[in-house]
Symmetry: C2
Subunit: 156 residues, 2 copies
């Protein structure tokens, strides 16, 4: 079970935009910043716009900028924007199928397996919610911030 | 991001085998128990055998039985047997690529994004490790245990 690479791309792009303030940056430059596919990055950025994490301004002087500050964006916000909010656990209610399903009484509550798996997944989502992109920015070296600014201030 | 359905099948099959003691049960009957595909279930059970969660005995009187008690099998054991132990977060070190990679100093430690994502995933794995199949069995109604035993005591 693996996340799409879009989550990595989205987090780095948000961090990069956080380093250049209100400056709008084109997707072309954001893709060149990490040498990633522009069409695929565009799809990820559209998801971030849809979820309010980015603002997109059309036109020749347009581009992307943060929808809110990095301190107000959690890792969970990004993961759910890119991967969705569906449970990672696949529950097809097989307890109700086959010989055991026929012989069991009708279920009176959710499957205990689903309940336990959901509890563990909630711990993961809680941990993702506890971490903001502002925290991650603070962990980056000053030289990295300088490199990001220099890269995103190149010609569009 | 979704787990394979094999995790659900593996957990239910282990719980079912826990209800019939040392009795060996054929994969045919285990598949009929929940009306699932026998070839796909066989692949999952082979992973459980490889990880010591099940024992497989060949021959006409053979079949599968638990490799250790349900109290000694955690949800993490099952998830890692079926899904592997690779991180769910996809880190391709894009921080080192493109314009930003060229302008940044050589990294002196792991990527802060990877560190934060790993911390959250560790919380999920810890929660999976805290939950045993014995705990889940305790949450099931007595009538379900009876149904499982009745189903697995049918002809092989």
């Amino acid at each position: 079970m693996r996340m799409s690479k879009g989550v990595e791309w989205a987090i780095h792009t948000l961090l990069n935009l956080g380093a250049v303030g209100d400056r709008r940056v084109s997707v072309t430059l954001l893709a060149r910043a990490h040498d990633v596919s522009e069409p695929y990055l565009t799809k990820q950025l559209q998801q971030l716009v849809k979820h309010g994490l980015l603002t997109s301004t059309p036109g020749p002087r347009g581009g992307y900028s943060l929808g809110r500050s990095l301190d107000q964006i959690t890792l969970l916000d990004v993961v759910e924007a890119i991967e969705g909010t569906t449970s990672t656990f696949h529950c097809a209610e097989i307890r109700c199928c086959g010989l055991i399903g026929e012989l069991s009484p009708p279920p009176t509550g959710p499957c205990a397996v689903m309940v336990a798996m959901t509890r563990a997944e909630d711990a993961w989502r809680e941990a993702l919610r506890a971490e903001t992109l502002g925290d991650i920015r603070s962990a980056l070296e000053g030289k990295v911030h300088n490199a990001v600014r220099a890269a995103l201030e190149q010609s569009r």
